[in-house]
Symmetry: C2
Subunit: 223 residues, 2 copies
């Protein structure tokens, strides 16, 4: 990748960094510019040209590093909140309150314009392309699903009710995390992509009350 | 509409009923051809030209009757099952079993290749365009959400726990129907659009067991 060393820059408008930086800063500059452009213009209207301009690189380098706009999106799009922080917020503390904490986090995301818009963009882009869906599947599994499943096994779920063997316990923990993701994605989809009035007219408190027992059961009760 | 008098009338604005075949058969022929073509090729690859050819009409008539390919799709796409039949299957019978019946219907859809593919197409198309989302919002609300909400008020839900006044009861019934749709859409999205392994590896029976109590609470228990 030495042929690109000279173009490396540290990000939008920040000019070129020292030459030795090379590849990793070029890639980082593209990723940062892409995050800016996707956030500002949405997936459809953000262009590789615009991203390249902001990153101070040739558009061909984007293809070189990321393959396609879809792949770029799936790799760089920031989740509306750091999964580790959210995970800690939700799973630390009394297991009896894990469902309510999860519902509260989701209601907070739906109430926050920026976070909601980003989640909707993720859902839209996954629906538009198998390639994006595959990239997101990997990221969501690695960054959210597996950590949630691990936390479930470590004790969110009352020990006494666990399945008998190791494989069954893993399978069940993953299913629990998947069920939570299905309800989260479905609420964002039905309320903010389809825009069902029956859901948009509900207050945050109503949503938390309605969803908390669902998440509680998915995460910590007998399935 | 006079320029299309021979063929027109059931189209935008519905005007004149009762003219001989003309309009309504043209519109119906386009709708039938569109259903075929969307089913055979999917939303993206189905073309207005192909639909017009199958219907034996000029492509301009599609625009005349339906406005756009997106609108056409949203209006003609068949739900994988007749909402009235499904609704009766789910809401008739013992209220204590409504959640399990709903989960069983959903698992049946996910197990049926044709039905699943059609649902995935609906979800994809809604995510791709605000216009399709708006058209689907209307259809889903009219054909599914409101009938479910009405059934909830008629007695799926135990009478004694209903909210005090009429408006609150309506609002709650709509919220219940909306919650069910959010979990249905989210399961299809997470399992079949994103393709989360944690969910694809789960059997139908596991899904029914996991989802039944969720639907039971959304439809018939204290929220």
């Amino acid at each position: 990748m030495t042929e690109h060393a000279g173009v490396a820059s540290d990000g939008p408008g920040r000019g070129r960094a020292g030459r030795r930086a090379g590849t990793s800063t070029t890639r980082a500059a593209i990723a940062a510019a892409a995050q800016d452009q996707f956030a500002a213009h949405g997936y459809d209207r953000a262009s590789l040209r615009g991203i390249a301009r902001e990153a101070g690189v040739d558009p061909a380098l984007i293809t070189y590093f990321f393959g396609s706009k879809q792949r770029l999106f799936a790799e760089v799009v920031e989740l509306p909140a750091d999964p580790r922080t959210v995970l800690a917020q939700v799973t630390d503390g009394d297991p009896a309150g894990v469902g309510r904490r999860m519902a509260t986090v989701l209601a907070g995301i739906l109430d926050d314009d920026d976070a909601r818009v980003r989640f909707v963009a993720i859902i839209r882009s996954a629906a538009q392309s198998e390639e994006v869906a595959a990239a997101l599947r990997e990221r969501l599994t690695r960054d959210i699903l597996e950590p949630v499943a691990a936390r479930v096994r470590e004790g969110v779920r009352p020990q006494h009710a666990g399945p008998p063997d190791e494989d069954a316990a893993k399978h069940e923990a993953r299913l629990r995390a998947g069920l939570v993701m299905s309800q989260v994605a479905g609420m964002i989809f039905a309320r903010h992509v389809i825009g069902l009035e029956a859901l948009t007219e509900a207050s945050s408190e109503e949503l938390v009350r309605a969803l908390a027992p669902t998440f509680q059961r998915y995460l910590a009760e007998e399935l």
